[in-house]
Symmetry: C2
Subunit: 201 residues, 2 copies
């Protein structure tokens, strides 16, 4: 396998471009990032970019998808580790909030992403994460632990809260002090769906 196949080489350039885009978009913002510069940073030109991703927005979509997918899996894992469906739901939300504190996530996924790619609820990666939340809520519904609310709507709102919460925490002057208050408020909001106050399912 000393011979690098062409497909592998192309995958490598794609990976390099995504990495460069991730860095540039995070540091300069989407509109501030120059395609000439970011391709040159990895020893390529815009030719490679337009061949692989179509246009600037295409690279942005790839970058967002990568970050978002990692976030979804991490949140899901956090939910699995917690004991019980209800604890899992809270852990999932907390994990989201904490991940969204990274400047890279803030700038790319929360601020520029919606402007460039449109409503996040339409992104394929967001939908993946949404499925996890919906599954957890369905478990709770099976246990008769929650009110008869539309599960998809509730799940979308819950995810939205987590992202919004992170946005505020990061922008606050003292993020460390704000974080626990926000997590508490998040759990308070989420508990609205429970039939029995302070349940521990």
């Amino acid at each position: 396998m000393a011979t690098t196949t062409r497909a592998a080489k192309m995958a490598e350039t794609r990976a390099k471009l995504i990495a460069a885009g991730r860095k540039a978009f995070a540091e300069k913002g989407y509109s501030g990032a120059s395609m000439d510069d970011l391709t040159a940073d990895v020893g390529l030109t815009r030719g490679a970019l337009y061949h692989n991703f179509g246009d600037k927005k295409g690279l942005m979509a790839a970058v967002v998808d990568e970050i978002d997918t990692v976030m979804a899996t991490r949140a899901h894992e956090a939910g699995q580790k917690a004991g019980g469906s209800w604890k899992g739901l809270l852990a999932e939300g907390a994990a989201y909030i904490e991940m969204a504190l990274q400047p890279e996530v803030q700038r790319i996924v929360l601020l520029d992403g919606p402007a460039v790619l449109g409503d996040p609820s339409q992104w394929p990666s967001q939908n993946r994460c949404l499925q996890a939340t919906i599954a957890t809520l369905q478990d709770l519904a099976a246990e008769k632990a929650i009110k008869p609310v539309d599960i998809e709507a509730f799940a979308r709102l819950l995810n939205g809260v987590a992202l919004n919460a992170a946005l505020w925490v990061a922008a606050s002057e003292t993020p460390e002090a704000t974080l626990p208050k926000v997590v508490a408020a998040f759990e308070c909001l989420a508990s609205g769906v429970l039939v029995t106050p302070e349940s521990s399912v």
Copy 2:
């Protein structure tokens, strides 16, 4: 008063530019809106724009502030009309969701605004709206009707839910059918703060 004073004339050009910006930003998006075109639409040039607002972002800030201020007052009025603090909180949220269904609000305030101006929680107009929500929550706290949660954090999250909810409703295939489900989910989330389930304070 047949003589138009200079200040009034300048205020008029400002108003014309804001109106033109509102239209262009809503139709083309922030990055797609050309300053040459939008100023020409009201019989001016970019000279007037850079003199009055500094740069493109300056006009965007003025446009967002105008829209956001109207939204805040409308939501506050809706809250006042409802009977009781708790009903008022729900009415406020519902009003926000419904206003955010307008394409103009969607595009300018929810999608492009954060990318151009940064985290919405830092906008002066958003803070005005936040104060209203906080005041309502403080009323509820005085009535001992809610849990001892950090009021500012809860208020920010609640506002975030409303905006996020609207974003999803507008993007859904059948907004009319989705709206009631979302409002129900919103009320479910908000009820998490109550000490007594299904209160009617």
